[in-house]
């Protein structure tokens, strides 16, 4: 089996996990989670260097990932569990009382793999710049990765950070935008248009790449290229086009599944479309 095929298989399992977790909790955010399943499968399956068996908050010698749009926690939790950060059986506790898998990611419950709380939008890029600076000071060649929603880019702090990273010559950072043009109230272009997003990042001093986020080969190739562009005094941002709800037909083509849980019948329909590859939790 090719590496790409393996990553696609894991993405399918992650998608099953997502819809089952959100259904079980009767709450959560399936749309963006499904749209980013391929990215997460590639990121942890082939892009990043990490040691899941020995979680180190300081990530010495490891790559670091920050989920700035914390509401798509299901896709991250599934990916972390599938890579051995914690038992996959724990996915069934998502959003339940006493769980380590809080609605939005947190360090407060000491869940391995999580280094920063997120949920209130717009903060992750600043955090990533700090972590990248710490790696620079420490002579650590690890790379810092982030993911942001495109709706999240409406937060002013993102642009403070966007201005800051090139100024500080951060070149060990790859930020990714989940560019699905959807947010809670509708299309991003209707709610508050981002304008020419590629040109904006370029104007702020970033190297900008574009990727098809639901095409595994495109994701893998884009991040290989992104890594090759590091170390040149500039940060890299990937504008990753995705489809909210990708993989479940009735959740695609709309913003309505941003934060709604499927009922029993909808869960069954979703699971029919998602192959169980590794095995359900």
């Amino acid at each position: 089996m090719s590496n790409t095929q393996q990553l696609e298989n894991l993405a399918s399992q992650i998608r099953r996990d997502i819809v089952r977790m959100v259904h079980s909790a009767s709450s959560g955010h399936p749309g963006g989670s499904l749209g980013c399943a391929d990215f997460f499968s590639a990121l942890y399956g082939s892009v990043m260097r990490f040691d899941a068996s020995n979680f180190d908050m300081d990530a010495k010698g490891e790559d670091v990932f920050f989920l700035s749009n914390g509401h798509i926690s299901p896709v991250w939790y599934s990916t972390l569990a599938r890579h051995g950060y914690f038992p996959v059986s724990e996915l069934g506790t998502f959003r339940q009382i006493d769980t380590r898998l809080q609605g939005h990611p947190t360090t407060a419950e000491h869940l391995p793999g999580i280094r920063m709380a997120s949920g209130s939008l717009g903060q992750g890029l600043s955090v990533a710049i700090g972590a990248a600076l710490a790696k620079r000071i420490n002579g650590d060649d690890g790379i810092v990765y982030t993911l942001h929603g495109d709706g999240e880019l409406q937060e002013g702090q993102i642009w403070e950070a966007a201005m800051s990273a090139p100024h500080h010559k951060i070149d060990n950072l790859i930020a990714t935008v989940d560019y699905n043009n959807r947010q809670i109230d509708g299309d991003v272009s209707d709610v508050l248009s981002l304008g020419d997003l590629n040109a904006k990042w370029v104007a702020f001093g970033w190297i900008v790449l574009e990727s098809e986020g639901n095409n595994m080969q495109s994701v893998v190739d884009t991040f290989a290229k992104a890594k090759s562009l590091l170390g040149q005094g500039k940060p890299v941002v990937v504008l990753m086009k995705t489809e909210m709800g990708a993989g479940v037909d009735f959740m695609m083509g709309t913003h309505k599944w941003h934060g709604v849980a499927p009922n029993d019948e909808q869960l069954a329909r979703a699971l029919e479309q998602l192959e169980e590859t590794v095995g359900d939790y």
């Binding site: 908050m57 920063m116 955090v127 710049i129 700090g130 600076l133 702090q157």
Partner: protein, 319 residues
């Protein structure tokens, strides 16, 4: 030390104590990094910035990003000290502190100058009187408001040893120096300045000096005061409060802050649950400040020495 022996001849600003402490820390601990939002001179961070350029980051007028960067720097073992005015250190970045620092329990030291009325001429936009309350309400947050130059210097060193988020509040004006460089600073442990019998005065920040002056005057009138320098407002020194008030049976609190949410409320919380006693607040009475000279403002807003004397006599009568 006898109360009448407090006759300091030198004055320095508390922010300079912070700057000197930060420079000393730079030498002692290479984990310490500093960030500033375009106020290096005002925060007296020049010495650190010049001596340790690889560990200093100019954040520009982008405070939210600065707090996030500081939180991120802890991942990798750094101990970040952020510097800007108290208003921009708290209210402007409350959500960033709440999520990325306090809730995430990151070892960030938020260092805030120009707090309170004594900022002076810049007026109410910059004179935050709500910051102690804002920071006290955050779980995991330690809140410290030292009283003079050397206490600020020592607090700056002490918070480096404290594993977790800290809000360190200090000010702009030159203020009498009545603590010494070798005086130990223990977080959460009040400094008992004077032993008296009649009234307990608990003060923080610049108001500690006014509490000493008020107690001297009261002593001349035959009223003796316990004075507690409550430099740490959270975690508050419960034992020191109860030991003193169980003796004097009444208390005056003094702070350069709104009457809501600050030191007075922290003390009232301890007393109401353990030893209810009459209390008078010396604090700004739920208003914003305005432009003026620092001491004129303290007088206008009811934070003068004479106000502490009057409040002490009033609380005595309520026993």
């Amino acid at each position: 030390m006898n109360l009448q022996d407090f006759n300091p001849t030198e004055e320095k600003d508390t922010r300079s104590g912070f700057g000197a402490g930060l420079a000393e820390l730079g030498k002692r601990d290479d984990r310490v990094v500093a960030l500033c939002a375009d106020l290096i001179g005002s925060l007296k961070m020049n010495a650190f910035a010049d001596t340790y350029p690889d560990r200093f980051f100019q954040a520009g007028v982008a405070e939210a990003n600065m707090i996030g960067m500081a939180a991120g720097l802890t991942i990798g073992g750094k101990i970040p000290y952020t510097g800007t005015f108290a208003n921009f250190s708290t209210g402007r970045v409350y959500d960033q502190i709440r999520q990325s620092v306090a809730y995430s329990k990151k070892n960030v030291k938020i260092c805030a100058s120009h707090a309170g009325l004594t900022l002076g001429e810049d007026g109410a936009t910059h004179q935050i009187l709500e910051d102690i309350g804002l920071m006290r309400m955050l779980p995991n947050m330690c809140v410290i408001n030292p009283c003079d130059y050397y206490q600020t210097y020592n607090a700056t060193l002490a918070i480096n040893e404290w594993d977790g988020p800290v809000y360190l509040r200090f000010g702009r004006p030159k203020w009498p120096m009545f603590t010494t460089k070798d005086q130990p600073f223990v977080i959460g442990k009040a400094w008992k300045i004077n032993d008296g019998q009649d009234v307990t005065i608990i003060a923080t920040g610049h108001m500690v000096w006014y509490a000493i002056l008020a107690a001297k005057e009261l002593e001349n009138q035959g009223v003796t005061c316990d004075i507690l320098n409550m430099h740490t407002i959270k975690p508050i020194d419960r034992d020191a409060i109860l030991d003193s008030v169980s003796k004097t049976k009444c208390v005056v609190t003094a702070e350069e802050h709104n009457i809501h949410g600050g030191l007075g409320d922290a003390v009232a919380q301890v007393l109401s649950q353990n030893f209810p006693a009459p209390q008078e607040y010396i604090a700004v009475n739920d208003s914003f400040g305005e432009s003026g000279k620092p001491k004129d403002l303290l007088k206008k807003y009811g934070l003068d020495v004479s106000d502490i004397v009057r409040a002490s006599k009033k609380v005595l009568e309520r026993k």
